[in-house]
């Protein structure tokens, strides 16, 4: 994921930057810590006893334990999905479902165990917090090891906690909203998350409060064959405003890990929520995430979803526009290199009149990588005078790469305005030739074209992340020419 510290401090002249990006993922993000000194590491495998012990370990209320156990039944009774990516290679018995690295989430970096702190130092998180974030959560393995929010925001009633603490300290509000957007039985992976969830963020923004700087959560997997199942719930009360950013990386291993999160967002009347993801998992991680939001009357919900790493990503952030004049936007970038399949997209459902939405998807495939756009736009009966625009563009960098588009549009009203555009293109020889004639090398020219292709989305990122995103894309592009 984005490491803004590097972006801010290590972005000198273009030439130096290009030299810098020669270092690969393994050195920058793919390092691992020794798996020693952990407080608890569950043996591999998924059983009823394991689910009960996670709940007991966390000292949860009975309703949550019942929720987990019922979810486990749903997971076991559902077949593995056969659409999208190939999930048959995941051995659900060969995964550590719960690994606790430290005793509790700390509010000071000084109290975080030394080796874990070093990891986050390398990833640039404390530095980013000092520079431009209103709050940070850092999850290492199954649980959050650090959580802090700006004091001013706390005084205004903003709650930003790890999910486990939120369940203990704000049980009523958690219970009222829990799984109302994504029920345990929504799909097989949501059921799995519901059974073994641990960590994630809880954000509550009171009525009318505007959180000026972003809140960030950073997710790090360290253990080999690890499953990370965080659960995030964001509630934005009437007229409030919040931007939440998540990032993630993992060590490079020869065996696979699994990341399967559930993210639920409720934007109440007039609220605005932006949720930005910069996913940069190592290429041995299956990233299977369910993200869904509701936007009530006059609310705005925006997903900015950047998918760079992972072996297989299946993720389709969705927005249900539930009240009049609600607005939804999904901006999605997917980059697939060798051995990667990015099956991404978005879903928007208009259920109320005068609602508006847009989906902009950009995908890039190289070295036989595969990207898929999978989207749904639905305008339900009664959602009259709604407007939506879907644009999905794919860029193929070589002959062996692949891009597929699976758009679904359902319209139940006559007086709506819906547009859909899709393009697939290759880097044109003429474009490269022109840039070379202006003094750029072939590789620089290609990078410039790719950065221009994704620019409509990166410009929506905070500056530090946009710079980092471009850097990551450049990193992925290394060696793609010649």
């Amino acid at each position: 994921m984005a490491t803004p510290e590097q972006a801010v401090t290590q972005r000198p002249a273009e030439e130096e930057g290009l030299t810098e990006i020669n270092s690969d993922y393994k050195e920058k993000f793919g390092f691992s810590d020794p798996e020693t000194g952990y407080v608890y590491k569950a043996p591999k495998g998924l059983t009823r006893e394991l689910v009960e012990s996670i709940s007991e370990y966390k000292d949860e209320p009975q309703w949550m334990r019942d929720f987990r156990l019922k979810a486990l039944e749903h997971f076991e009774s559902r077949p593995t999905p056969q659409w999208g990516g190939d999930l048959d290679q995941i051995d659900f018995d060969d995964i550590h479902y719960f690994v606790r690295a430290s005793e509790r989430p700390e509010r000071s970096w000084d109290d975080v165990p030394e080796d874990i702190k070093e990891t986050f130092d390398r990833l640039g998180i404390p530095e980013a917090e000092r520079q431009f974030l209103a709050g940070v959560g850092a999850q290492y393995e199954s649980e959050v090891v650090y959580h802090q929010i700006n004091e001013e925001l706390e005084k205004q009633g903003v709650i930003f906690l790890d999910m486990d603490t939120a369940l203990r300290e704000h049980e009523e509000i958690v219970r009222e909203h829990w799984a109302t957007i994504i029920p345990a039985n929504d799909n097989k992976l949501a059921a799995l998350n519901s059974a073994v969830w641990s960590g994630g963020s809880f954000v509550y923004v009171p009525k009318g409060v505007k959180v000026e700087m972003p809140l960030q959560a950073y997710f790090r997997i360290n253990t080999e064959n690890m499953g990370q199942f965080e659960r995030t719930l964001i509630i934005a009360e009437d007229g409030s405003d919040v931007h939440y950013i998540e990032g993630c990386t993992a060590p490079v291993y020869s065996t696979d890990s699994l990341h399967s999160a559930v993210v639920e967002i409720i934007a109440k009347p007039g609220a605005r929520v932006r949720y930005t993801t910069v996913q940069n998992w190592s290429q041995n991680v299956y990233n299977l995430v369910t993200k869904r939001a509701v936007a009530h009357e006059d609310a705005t919900m925006e997903w900015v979803d950047c998918n760079l790493g992972s072996k297989l990503t299946m993720k389709y952030p969705s927005i249900y526009l539930m009240g009049e004049r609600a607005h939804g936007e999904i901006l999605s970038i997917a980059f697939a290199g060798e051995g990667q399949h990015q099956d991404a997209g978005g879903k928007i459902v208009h259920t109320a009149p005068n609602t508006t939405s847009s989906i902009f998807s950009k995908s890039i495939s190289k070295d036989a990588g595969r990207t898929s756009y999978r989207g749904l736009l639905e305008i339900a009966d009664g959602a009259s005078e709604s407007k939506s625009k879907v644009v999905c563009d794919a860029l193929l960098l070589d002959e062996n790469s692949r891009s597929d588009t699976y758009p679904t549009i359902r319209i139940g009203e006559d007086d709506v305005d819906v547009g859909h555009e899709a393009t697939v293109s290759k880097i044109g020889d003429e474009q490269v030739f022109y840039l070379q004639s202006r003094g750029l090398s072939e590789e620089e020219a290609s990078k410039m074209i790719v950065n221009g292709f994704i620019e409509p989305i990166t410009k929506e990122l905070p500056m530090e992340y946009a710079v980092e995103m471009n850097r990551l894309i450049e990193l992925q592009m290394e060696g793609s020419i010649g």
Partner: protein, 114 residues
């Protein structure tokens, strides 16, 4: 009209079963008009009827789990929770209400008005 359907004073009525055949916490699924099915629930003494069709993807609904404490049924396919009194979903992915029907008990017989 199906075998168990009648018309009484201009209203179509469906015979469900005798009261004793639908104890608390149980459901009966009966044939309704035009090929539809209706689930009749005994929610701790309160009889409630809802079309046996989830508004999310038209799959069967009434064989889902009944929660008598809230009088809700959970769709067995994707987990949407429906209020049996109003037919409205309390959770996504469904967002449209499912039709509900008045239940009448006369002479120890449970009937539906459709």
């Amino acid at each position: 009209m199906t075998e168990n359907e009648k018309e009484i004073q201009g209203t179509r009525v469906i015979e469900v079963c005798s009261s004793s055949d639908l104890p608390p916490g149980e459901v009966k699924i009966v044939d309704g008009p035009d090929g539809m099915k209706i689930g009749v629930f005994n929610c701790d003494g309160k009889l409630l009827a809802i079309e046996d069709r989830c508004s999310h993807d038209d799959g069967p609904l009434a064989e889902g789990t009944l929660d008598v404490s809230t009088c809700t049924v959970e769709c067995p396919r994707h987990g949407s929770l429906f209020d049996l009194e109003t037919g409205r979903p309390k959770t996504l992915p469904a967002y449209e209400a499912v039709p509900t029907y008045p239940v009448i008990v006369e002479d120890d017989k449970i009937r539906l008005e459709v």
